[in-house]
C-alpha cells in the first residue's frame, strides 16, 4: 500500500490546531452568551483549566468496560470525524485522512461517538443517563434528517459525494457557494444544525436538574476530560462539514477560523434568544419546518 506516512504528523497537527481553536472559540461563544446576559463571563482560558483540573482529579470509579470505553468512543468519533474531512481546501497538509472515504463516511461516523457514548452512559446503570439518551436519540434522529436531505441535495447538485470535489465546485467567489446556489438545502441544514448542537431550544436532553445533565451524569475526572475535549473538537468537525458543503470551504486557516466561528455563532445566537422545546415538540418542529425544506431542496435541485 502506497501510504504517505507524513499524513500522520499532519493529522496530529490538524487535531492540535482544532483542539486549541475549539477551546478558545467555545469559551468565546460562552463569553458572548454571558454578555448577552449582562455578565462578564468566564476567562477565555477557563476551558483549559477545567480540563486540566479534571485530569488532575485523583480518584475515579468505573461501572464496567463499556462505561470505561464510552468516552474513548466519543472522542474517537470526534477526532475521526475531523480527520475524515479535509479541513483546508487545496492543502495537502490539511486534507487529513479524507482518502479513507467520502461524505457518506463522515455522515455515518458521526454516530460512532454517539453510539459509544450512549452505551457507556447506559452501563452506569443510572436511569437518568438512559432517559437522557432516549431523549437525545429521539431528537437527533429527527434533527439529522433535514441535514441528510440537504447533504443529499448538495450531492445531487454537484453529482459527487467527495467533499473535496464539492468544495472545488464552490471556488468561484461567494455567489458560487451552495448557500446561494441551493438556499433551500442550506436553510434545511442550518435548522438541523441547531438541533445537533445541544443548545437551546434543543437542550432538554441534558436537563441539568431533572435528569442531572442526562447521559454524562456519571462521568467525571479523566472521562469527563476526554469528553470535554470532544466537546470542543466535535462541533468544529461538524461545522467543517457544513462549511465545506454550504459555505465554500476554507482555503486557509484564517478563513477556516472565521467561517467556523460564524457558523457556530448561528447556533449560539438562536440559543440565547429562544426558550426550550420539549423533546416531542422539537421532533414535531423539525418535522414541520426543517424536513419540508429538505424535501423541497431535493425535489428542485
Amino acid at each position: 500500500m502506497d501510504f504517505d506516512w507524513m499524513k500522520i504528523p499532519y493529522a496530529f497537527l490538524t487535531v492540535f490546531i482544532v483542539v486549541n481553536y475549539g477551546f478558545l472559540m467555545t469559551a468565546l461563544i460562552q463569553k458572548i452568551g454571558a454578555r448577552v446576559g449582562r455578565r462578564y463571563g468566564i476567562p477565555i482560558w477557563q476551558n483549559y483549566l477545567d480540563m486540566i483540573k479534571n485530569y488532575g482529579l485523583r480518584s475515579s470509579i468505573t461501572h464496567g468496560a463499556m462505561f470505561y470505553l464510552g468516552p474513548v468512543f466519543r472522542l474517537s468519533g470526534g477526532v475521526g470525524l475531523l480527520l475524515f474531512v479535509p479541513s483546508i481546501y487545496g492543502s495537502y497538509m490539511f486534507s487529513n485522512l479524507s482518502f479513507a472515504g467520502d461524505l457518506i463516511l463522515a455522515l455515518y461516523f458521526v454516530f460512532f461517538g454517539t453510539l459509544g457514548m450512549a452505551l457507556g452512559a447506559a452501563e452506569s446503570g443510572h436511569p437518568h443517563a438512559a432517559i437522557g439518551i432516549t431523549r437525545g436519540l429521539s431528537q437527533v434522529s429527527m434533527a439529522e434528517l433535514p441535514f441528510g436531505l440537504a447533504v443529499f441535495s448538495v450531492a445531487l447538485q454537484y453529482q459527487t459525494l467527495s467533499v473535496t470535489d464539492i468544495v472545488a465546485a464552490q471556488q468561484g467567489g461567494m455567489l458560487t457557494w451552495t448557500l446561494f446556489t441551493n438556499p433551500l438545502a442550506v436553510s434545511a441544514a442550518m435548522l438541523s444544525f441547531l438541533g445537533s448542537m445541544m443548545r437551546p431550544p434543543f437542550d432538554v436532553v441534558i436537563a441539568p436538574q431533572e435528569i442531572p445533565i442526562g447521559p454524562p451524569t456519571e462521568y467525571h475526572s479523566s472521562y469527563l476530560a476526554l469528553m470535554q475535549t470532544n466537546r470542543v473538537i466535535f462541533p468544529v468537525a461538524k461545522i467543517v462539514i457544513y462549511m465545506n458543503l454550504f459555505f465554500g470551504g476554507a482555503t486557509s486557516w484564517p478563513e477556516f477560523f472565521l467561517k467556523v466561528f460564524l457558523i457556530y455563532m448561528w447556533s449560539a445566537f438562536v440559543g440565547v434568544v429562544f426558550p426550550r422545546f420539549r423533546v416531542e415538540q422539537s421532533i414535531r418542529w423539525f418535522l414541520v419546518w426543517a424536513v419540508p425544506l429538505g424535501v423541497l431542496s431535493i425535489m428542485v435541485v
Binding site: R39, Y40, Q46, D50, I52, K53, R58, S59, P208, T217
Partner: protein, 213 residues
C-alpha cells in the same frame, strides 16, 4: 433496616433459589483510601492551580443558605468569572457548600453526596449553624458542628452571610487549594472510622453502605 435492604431468597429463572444481600451485592464495600498527590511536585502545583481556578460546586442547597448561592450566578455577582460554576451531579463537583443548618435527615444525603464526589474535594460550611448550631443549637434534629461529620475546609460565618461573603470565601478557598492544603478528602479517608461513628450516632436509620462510591 429498610426491607428492601434485607437479605432475601430469590428464585432464578432456572428455578434455583439463592440469597440476595443487597448491601453486599448492590454496593461496593471498599473503604476510601488516601489518594497521593502527583509524584512530581510541579505537576501537582499545576493541578492545584487548575483546581483552584476551576471550582465546580455541587448544586445541592441543604438549608436556608442555599438562597444566597443563587445570586452568585447573576450579573451582579457573576461567580463564573472566577472559574466557579455549579454542577448538578456530585461526580463532577469539587466543592460542597453546606448552606446553613443541616438536619440529620439531610445529613444522610449530604454524606452520600460528599462521598460520591471525587478526590480532591472541598467542603464549605456556610453560616453559623454549620459551626456550632447557631440559633438551632438546641434543636432536636439538626447537627451542631459540621466538622464532626465531614471534613470542612472553610467556614463562612453569619446568619446568613451575604453572597459577597461567599465570594470572599471562594477567594480564600482558592488560596487554600493553591497551597495544597485542601486535603479534606484524604483526611476523611484517614479518619474514616471516626467520621462514621459520629455520623451513625446522629443518623439512626442508617440504610446505606458505609461508604458511598
Amino acid at each position: 433496616m429498610k426491607p428492601e435492604l434485607m437479605k432475601r431468597m430469590v428464585k432464578g429463572p432456572d428455578g434455583v433459589e439463592f440469597e440476595v444481600e443487597p448491601l453486599r451485592d448492590y454496593f461496593c464495600e471498599v473503604p476510601p483510601t488516601v489518594m497521593p498527590a502527583a509524584y512530581i511536585k510541579i505537576v501537582e502545583d499545576l493541578f492545584n492551580w487548575a483546581r483552584a481556578e476551576s471550582i465546580w460546586i455541587l448544586g445541592f442547597g441543604t438549608g436556608c443558605g442555599a438562597i444566597e448561592m443563587r445570586p452568585l450566578m447573576t450579573p451582579r455577582f457573576d461567580a463564573y468569572r472566577y472559574g466557579v460554576q455549579w454542577r448538578p451531579t456530585p461526580r463532577q463537583a469539587n466543592l460542597f457548600i453546606i448552606s446553613g443548618y443541616l438536619s440529620t435527615k439531610t445529613l444522610k444525603r449530604a454524606i452520600r453526596a460528599y462521598e460520591q464526589m471525587q478526590n480532591p474535594k472541598y467542603v464549605i460550611g456556610l453560616g453559623s449553624c454549620t459551626i456550632n448550631g447557631g440559633m438551632y443549637w438546641d434543636s432536636y434534629n439538626t447537627i451542631k458542628r459540621l466538622d464532626d461529620y465531614l471534613p470542612v475546609d472553610l467556614y463562612i460565618a453569619g446568619c446568613m452571610p451575604r453572597p459577597e461573603a461567599l465570594l470572599a470565601g471562594f477567594m480564600d478557598l482558592k488560596k487554600i487549594i493553591r497551597a495544597g492544603k485542601g486535603e479534606g478528602a484524604n483526611q476523611y479517608a484517614e479518619n474514616f472510622a471516626w467520621y462514621k461513628e459520629n455520623q451513625k450516632r446522629v443518623i439512626h436509620d442508617w440504610d446505606m453502605p458505609d461508604y458511598n462510591w
